[in-house]
């Protein structure tokens, strides 16, 4: 088998939260020309369905297998994905597009690892920004910005000892994430971590503190939806994996406790 040493390229493309109109012009132009340019694109299922509507000629190789491998946890899978894409681009000489939902810079471990590896090896990396989920979910609350915004992983708060400050509002993301393995896409498991999250938050907030589950209606409209509830009721019902929890500050502006209709 032949060795290929010609230089390739690696581009990470953020495609926004889900709706085609949220894809940036830069990303659209890149996708439109990618198939003709012989680019090799990779992404998960939800990204593939979006690309199918924007650039039907572009084949997106499925990365979903990484979530289904026996005995492979997510950190290991993300590390392997990062190494694989860097290798494909710079050792195999392919023009690689890694297509991700939302913004590449928001809560994406694989992107983080790719960026670090490229930086360490002196590899060029192009980043095409996308709208993050934060813009979309904030649509249903009134965030003033006066006390900042804490963006935290619900998993980290529930299980890793990270505590949001009570002085400013917090957005806890990936609320339905209940496992470090690949089975977390089933929302029925979400109450497991919600119980832990609730108990952690109750250490700092009163039981009646108003919180809001922010989530999407899903395909095809991807409407932003809100489910307000008291903190003590957080674990009473399951939530979608990619939902978020809005936690207003303990003594913050009243408007940040309201839900935008």
């Amino acid at each position: 088998m032949t060795e290929r040493t010609a230089a390739g390229s690696l581009t990470i493309v953020g495609l926004g939260p889900a709706r085609p109109e949220h894809v940036t012009l830069e990303a659209r132009e890149l996708l439109a020309g990618a198939a003709a340019a012989g680019a090799r694109a990779y992404g998960l299922a939800h990204v593939r369905s979006l690309v199918a509507s924007l650039a039907p000629d572009l084949e997106v190789r499925p990365l979903d297998y990484l979530y289904r491998l026996p005995g492979v946890d997510r950190p290991t899978a993300y590390q392997d994905l990062a190494r694989m894409l860097v290798r494909r681009a710079f050792q195999d000489g392919q023009d690689v597009l890694y297509l991700v939902a939302g913004s590449p810079l928001f809560i994406n471990d694989a992107v983080l690892l790719i960026r670090r590896q490229c930086a360490a090896e002196g590899r060029p990396l192009r980043l095409v920004h996308g709208i993050s989920f934060v813009e979309v979910v904030l649509e249903r609350v009134f965030w003033t910005g006066h006390r900042g915004l804490q963006l935290l992983s619900a998993w980290n708060v529930a299980r890793d000892g990270i505590s949001p400050s009570t002085e400013g509002p917090a957005l806890l993301c990936q609320l339905g994430e209940f496992s470090a393995g690949g089975e977390a896409l089933d929302p029925r498991g979400s109450p497991l971590v919600l119980v832990e999250l609730r108990d952690r938050l109750l250490e700092r907030f009163p039981a009646q503190h108003p919180v809001t589950v922010l989530y999407s209606s899903g395909h095809p409209d991807y409407l932003s939806l809100a489910r307000p509830l008291a903190l003590e009721d957080l674990a009473e019902a399951e939530v979608p994996v990619y939902s978020n929890l809005w936690v207003p500050a303990l003594h913050g502006p009243e408007i940040e406790r309201e839900v935008c209709p």
Binding site: M1, T2, R4, R40, R61, P62, L63, Y65, L66, L69, P70, G71, V72, D73, T76, A77, D80, M84, R87, R88, Q91, D92, Q94
Partner: protein, 373 residues
């Protein structure tokens, strides 16, 4: 002297005869993978075996036979278009249809299959019947046809062969069949024309992990068609991740693992169940005609597997639609739809009051089993 091509890779995509050469794989394909075979003898044999399995209380076998019997409708409806597609513009979907058809035929005939595949291996008598009298020259598939990939350079782990990949082309079966013939016919052997399939590399599970980067590059660049493991993967995440990457990057890999060398002709893998869809609803009207067939069975696969038989109706179509379980009365009603009877006449024919038949008709229309005449 009869010149013959071997049985594999099966299903053949060549003509039955070309330049005086008989393609045994094509003969097997044409005789078994046809609507006539599936809707006729295969269905009949499966029905008989299903009844016998129920009588014998062989419940797991009965459940398998019921699924197979019901599948003879959609498979029979799609097998001949699939054969045509397979011969001219092969797709993963056409291969899935041929695979399911082969499974049904194999189940009915009780023929063995090529190891790890659904492809049937015919008995000696069938082979002798095809080649007829006289001596035979067997044109074997070459191990290096289609060009090498340089893989043979690698410390003897690779077979270096294009589409051999360690897979039997059926020559041994033919040789054994003819050697056992009463006249003890002597075989000559020659070389078959190249099939032009991409090369396959055979290696150990450990080598797959150790050579992951090199193998992935070869798959990406089209230098390799697929990989065949001659030993299990070693335990651990590294092996799973390596195999995951190679399956993802090799467009033929999963079909090759599932179907053997013929998988090298298609990109991706489609399973039979992915091909079936729900039938579209019909149009309501005062007079209805049947667009499906209603059959009565000793249960659903689940109930049979649990040893709980009961009479269940099924709606089946002459199309790639999912069979639908229904109450037995729905089968009676469906059979009464002749495109001329109205509600009252259908009710009289079935012997049930019209108020019971009306909702059944609504359901049959909604399920796409009946439509306005």
């Amino acid at each position: 002297m009869t010149e013959v091509l071997p049985l594999g890779p099966f299903p053949s995509w060549g003509p039955l005869r070309k330049g005086g050469v008989l393609d045994l794989g094509a003969a097997l394909r044409d005789q078994l993978l046809s609507r006539r075979a599936l809707w006729g003898p295969v269905r009949k044999v499966l029905q008989g075996r299903l009844a016998h399995a129920v009588e014998e209380a062989s419940w797991p076998q009965a459940a398998e036979l019921l699924v197979a019997w019901l599948d003879t409708w959609p498979v029979g409806a799609t097998v001949e278009p699939a054969v045509s597609e397979w011969m001219s513009a092969p797709s993963a979907a056409s291969l899935a249809v041929l695979a399911r058809a082969s499974e049904l035929v194999g189940l009915a005939l009780a023929w063995p299959t090529q190891p790890g595949t659904p492809w049937p291996v015919p008995p000696a008598g069938w082979i002798r019947e095809q080649v007829g009298e006289g001596s035979v020259r067997l044109l074997r598939r070459g191990e290096d046809e289609g060009g090498g990939d340089g893989a043979g350079e690698d410390d003897g782990e690779d077979d270096g062969g294009e589409d051999d990949g360690g897979e039997d082309d059926g020559s041994e079966t033919i040789r054994a069949a003819l050697a056992g013939a009463p006249e003890g016919r002597l075989l000559e052997e020659g070389r078959a024309p190249s099939l032009g399939l991409p090369p396959v590399l055979t290696l150990t599970g450990e080598a797959l992990v150790a050579r992951r980067s090199e193998l992935a590059r070869a798959l990406v660049q089209g230098e390799l068609g697929a990989l065949r493991l001659r030993s299990p993967l070693p335990p651990g995440a590294a092996a799973q991740l390596a195999l995951g990457e190679l399956r993802m990057e090799g467009p033929h890999q999963r079909a090759f693992e599932r179907y053997g060398r013929v998988g090298l002709r298609v990109d991706g893998l489609v399973e039979w169940q992915e091909i079936l869809t729900e039938a579209p609803g019909g149009e309501d009207g005062p007079v209805l005609q049947a667009t499906a067939e209603g059959v009565l069975t000793p249960g659903t696969p689940g109930r049979l597997a649990r040893g709980e038989p009961e009479t269940i109706g099924w709606l089946v179509w002459d199309a790639a639609f999912l069979p639908v379980p229904v109450l037995p009365v729905a089968v009676q009603v469906l059979r009464a739809l002749d495109g001329e009877r109205g509600l009252d006449q259908v009710a009289a024919e079935v012997g049930v009051v019209a108020s019971v038949v009306a909702p059944v008709l609504d359901q049959l229309v909604a399920l796409g089993a009946a439509t306005a005449a």
